[in-house]
C-alpha cells in the first residue's frame, strides 16, 4: 500500500519514525513528571486503541512513548491526545495540533518538595512555569529541575540545571548546642558548620544551601529562608562528541532571572547556531565553545538584574570526554 508520510513534519510534531516500516511512536510529555493519576488512564486508552503491541515506554525525560502506532493514524492520534495535553497543562498554540515543536525537550524534575524532605522547592511547579515560558520551540534545549544538591534529576547533564537552595536562617536564642546540624553538615554535606561559644558559625563560602542543617535541627533554631534560592548550572550534556557536566554559573539566584536567562539563550542560539546544523539542532555548549563564553554572557544577561546575594562565576570551563580526540586513547 502506498504510504506518503512527511517524516520531517511528524518528527517535529514529536512523533518518532520507528525501525519497523509503517510504524512509529507517539511521545507524550509531562512537565516535571507530575500528573494526575487520571492521565495514566488517558494514556492507556490511546495505547489500547492505537498501539499494535499495546506497549508504552517510560522515557528518561519523564514522558510516555506509545510504541507501534501506525504512521497513518498520526492525524487521528494528534487529535486524541488533546485531553492529555490539557490535563498536564503544557503550552500549546492551537488546540488539536499536538506538539507543534519538539526540539526543546520536556522539562524534567525530581519529585521535589511535594514529597521529598530534602527538596528546597516545588520542582514540578517550576518545571511548568519554565514550560510556559519556553514552549513550544524547536531549538534543542534541555532543562531540568532538582530539589537539592543531591541532584537526583541529574540536572548537570542538561543545558540548564536548576538546583534548589535555601539560605539557612539561624536564631541563636533557639539553639541548644546539640550540634546535630554540625554533624549532619559534615556527614551529609560539605562541613560548612562549626561551633564557637556554643553557637553555630556557618562558613558562607563553603555552604551550598542544601538545607541539611534545617532538617536536622530539633528546636527550629535553623529555618529556611522565606525566599527560595537556586543554583543554575549550565551546558551539561550527553552525546557523541564531548559529553560534559554542567558547571555552576549562578549561585543563590532567583527564579525570574533564571527564566530570563533561558529565554535570552534562545535568542543567542538563533543568532549563532551553525547554518550546517542538521535539522537546526546544535548543542548550545558547542555554540558557546565556538563563539566564546564572554559573548554568550552578553546575550544571556540581557535585561537580567541579579540580586545582591547572587554569586556569578566570571568564567566557566568545561572539560568532559572528547571522543573526537583519540590521542589519549593510545599509548
Amino acid at each position: 500500500m502506498a504510504m506518503d508520510i512527511n517524516t520531517k513534519k511528524i518528527k517535529r510534531n514529536a512523533f518518532r519514525v520507528s525501525k519497523k516500516r509503517g510504524y512509529g511512536a507517539c511521545r507524550i510529555r509531562v512537565p516535571g513528571g507530575y500528573l494526575d493519576s487520571k492521565v495514566l488512564g488517558m494514556v492507556q486508552e490511546i495505547a489500547d486503541k492505537y498501539s499494535a503491541t499495546g506497549k508504552i515506554h517510560l522515557t528518561t525525560r519523564q514522558g510516555f512513548e506509545i510504541e507501534d502506532i501506525r504512521l497513518t493514524d498520526i492525524p487521528e492520534i494528534t487529535r486524541a491526545i488533546q485531553p492529555i495535553i490539557e490535563a498536564v497543562g503544557i503550552n500549546q498554540k492551537d488546540p488539536y495540533t499536538g506538539y507543534t515543536e519538539s526540539g526543546t525537550r520536556n522539562i524534567s524534575a525530581c519529585i521535589g518538595n511535594n514529597v521529598c524532605p530534602f527538596a528546597n522547592y516545588n520542582t514540578s511547579a517550576l518545571a511548568r512555569k519554565i514550560d510556559k515560558a519556553i514552549f513550544p520551540n524547536d531549538l534543542h534545549f534541555k532543562v531540568a529541575c532538582t530539589g537539592c544538591s543531591n541532584d537526583c534529576a541529574k540536572v548537570r547533564m542538561h543545558d540548564f540545571g536548576i538546583i534548589g537552595m535555601t539560605m539557612p536562617q539561624y536564631d541563636p536564642t533557639r539553639c541548644i548546642s546539640c550540634e546535630a546540624c554540625v554533624k549532619g553538615c559534615k556527614s551529609l554535606s560539605v562541613g560548612a558548620l562549626s561551633i564557637n561559644n556554643y553557637k553555630i558559625v556557618r562558613d558562607t563560602e563553603k555552604c551550598i544551601g542544601c538545607g541539611v542543617c534545617v532538617t536536622k535541627c530539633p528546636t527550629r533554631a535553623w529555618t529556611r529562608s522565606q525566599k527560595k534560592y537556586y543554583k543554575l548550572t549550565i551546558m551539561g550534556r550527553t552525546g557523541k562528541k564531548n559529553p560534559r557536566l554542567g558547571q555552576d554559573w549562578l549561585v543563590w539566584a532567583d527564579e525570574e532571572n533564571i527564566i530570563k536567562i533561558i529565554c535570552n539563550t534562545y535568542r543567542f542560539v538563533e543568532q549563532y547556531i551553525s547554518p550546517n546544523a542538521p535539522a537546526r539542532k546544535e548543542h548550545i555548549g558547542y555554540i558557546i565553545d565556538r563563539v566564546g563564553f564572554e559573548e554568550y554572557k552578553k546575550w544571556a544577561l540581557e535585561g537580567v538584574e541579579l540580586m545582591p546575594e547572587t554569586i556569578m562565576k566570571k568564567c566557566i570551563y568545561w572539560n568532559g570526554i572528547h571522543f573526537t580526540d583519540k590521542s589519549a586513547w593510545t599509548d
Binding site: 518538595n113 524532605p117 527538596a119 528546597n120 522547592y121 516545588n122 530539589g147 534548589g164 535555601t166 541563636p172 536564642t173 533557639r174 539553639c175 541548644i176 548546642s177 546539640c178 546535630a180 564557637n196 561559644n197 556554643y198 538545607g211 534545617v214 532538617t215 536536622k216 535541627c217 530539633p218 528546636t219 527550629r220 529555618t223 529556611r224 522565606q226
Partner: protein, 329 residues
C-alpha cells in the same frame, strides 16, 4: 465573670492587654517547619486575636516563655558577677488545658525540688494564663486518659466563635474597662481523644531488662525533639562563654538539655552513665509516667501528645506505654 464581645471589641480589649502585658500565644510560623514549604506552630507575640493559632496544637509548648531556651544567669566582668534584670512587664500566656497542668510540673521542679529557682520564680510570679478551650481532640493528645483535659485555675478564658468572642475573666485586671454583654461562660474541653492510654501501675526496676526498651530505643536517633517539644521537660545544661571580642567578660547561661542527646550523662573523665539509646528511652518514659509521680504525687506526663507528633522516626510513646500496661495484664 463571663463576657460576650464582638471581634472588634475583643481585639480592643486585647490591645489593652498588650499594653499591660507581654502577650505570648501559639502562632503559625509560615515556612519555619522542618521541611520546605511547611509551617510550624510555636509561641510568639501576636498583634491581634486573629494572629493566634486557635485550631492547631502548638508543636513546641509554652514552656519557652517561662524557661528561655537560652537564659543568661549572670555576666562575668573580671571578678564580678552581674545578674540580668528580671522582666519588667507582666506576661500573659495563651495555652490549653494540658499545658495548664504542665505548668504544675514545671513548678514541681523549679519551686519545690530542693532550692527555689529564682529566675523561674521571678517570671512565674509575673505571668498570668489565658486558657484556650478545645472543642475537639487534637490527633495525638490523650489528655482524657491523663485527667488533664480540664483546667480551672486560669486567669482568663478566650474563645473565638465566628464573629463573637466569649471570655471568662476571673482575674479582674483582664476585665478592666470591658463593656460587653455579661453571661456565664465555661471553657470548652474534650471528653474523648482519638488516643487512649493506660498507664502501667506496678512498674519496678524489674522492667529495666524488658526487651521493649531495646525494641523502641534502637530506632531512636537521639535528636531530642521529644524533650524539646514536651511542656514538662525541664532539664538544662550550664554553658560559660567569654566574648570573642572581649575575653575578659563573659556570661554563664543555662540552655535546654535532652536526656536523649549524647553527652547528657557524661561525667568528668568521659564515663557515660547512660550510654545506649534503649536505656535513655527507658529513663525518659519512666520519668514521665512513674518516677516523677513517686516524688511529687502526679505523673509528669500530661498527655499533650507533642512528643508523639514530632518524632521523626515515628517512635510512638503512646504505643510504648500501652504495651507496658498490656504486659502487666
Amino acid at each position: 465573670m463571663g463576657y460576650q464581645f464582638t471581634k472588634a471589641e475583643a481585639n480592643a480589649l486585647f490591645q489593652q492587654w498588650k499594653e499591660r502585658y507581654d502577650v505570648y500565644a501559639p502562632m503559625l510560623m509560615k515556612g519555619e517547619g522542618c521541611f520546605s514549604d511547611t509551617d510550624i506552630v510555636r509561641y510568639g507575640q501576636p498583634d491581634t486575636l486573629e494572629d493566634i493559632e486557635w485550631a492547631k496544637k502548638s508543636d513546641y509548648s509554652f514552656k519557652e516563655v517561662l524557661l528561655s531556651i537560652n537564659q543568661t544567669l549572670f555576666y562575668f566582668t573580671e571578678d564580678k558577677t552581674i545578674v540580668p534584670n528580671p522582666p519588667k512587664k507582666e506576661i500573659l500566656i495563651f495555652l490549653r488545658a494540658c499545658d495548664m497542668h504542665a505548668l504544675t510540673r514545671l513548678d514541681d521542679v523549679y519551686l519545690k525540688n530542693g532550692f527555689e529557682d529564682i529566675y523561674y520564680r521571678q517570671v512565674r510570679e509575673m505571668t498570668h494564663f489565658v486558657l484556650m478551650g478545645c472543642t475537639q481532640s487534637c490527633e495525638t493528645g490523650f489528655c482524657v486518659s491523663m485527667g488533664t483535659n480540664k483546667a480551672d485555675t486560669y486567669d482568663g478564658y478566650v474563645k473565638l466563635d465566628g464573629e463573637t468572642v466569649l471570655m471568662d475573666l476571673p482575674m479582674a485586671e483582664l476585665a478592666e474597662g470591658a463593656k460587653a454583654e455579661e453571661l456565664a461562660v465555661t471553657p470548652d474541653y474534650v471528653t474523648e481523644n482519638f488516643e487512649k492510654v493506660t498507664l502501667p501501675k506496678n512498674l519496678t526496676n524489674e522492667c529495666f531488662t524488658d526487651d521493649i526498651w531495646k525494641e523502641f530505643g534502637s530506632r531512636c536517633i537521639a535528636c531530642g525533639r521529644c524533650n524539646f517539644a514536651c511542656p514538662t521537660c525541664t532539664c538544662y545544661t550550664m554553658q560559660d562563654i567569654f566574648y570573642n571580642d572581649n575575653p575578659k567578660n563573659g556570661e554563664r547561661r543555662r540552655v535546654w538539655a535532652s536526656c536523649q542527646v549524647d553527652g547528657y550523662t557524661v561525667i568528668a573523665g568521659g564515663y557515660d552513665c547512660r550510654k545506649n539509646q534503649s536505656d535513655r528511652m527507658r529513663f525518659k518514659v519512666l520519668h514521665k509516667i512513674s518516677d516523677h509521680e513517686k516524688r511529687f504525687g502526679h505523673t509528669m506526663c500530661v498527655g499533650c501528645g507533642r512528643c508523639e507528633a514530632i518524632c521523626p522516626e515515628y517512635i510512638s510513646y503512646i504505643t510504648l506505654i500501652n504495651r507496658l500496661a498490656e504486659k502487666e495484664g
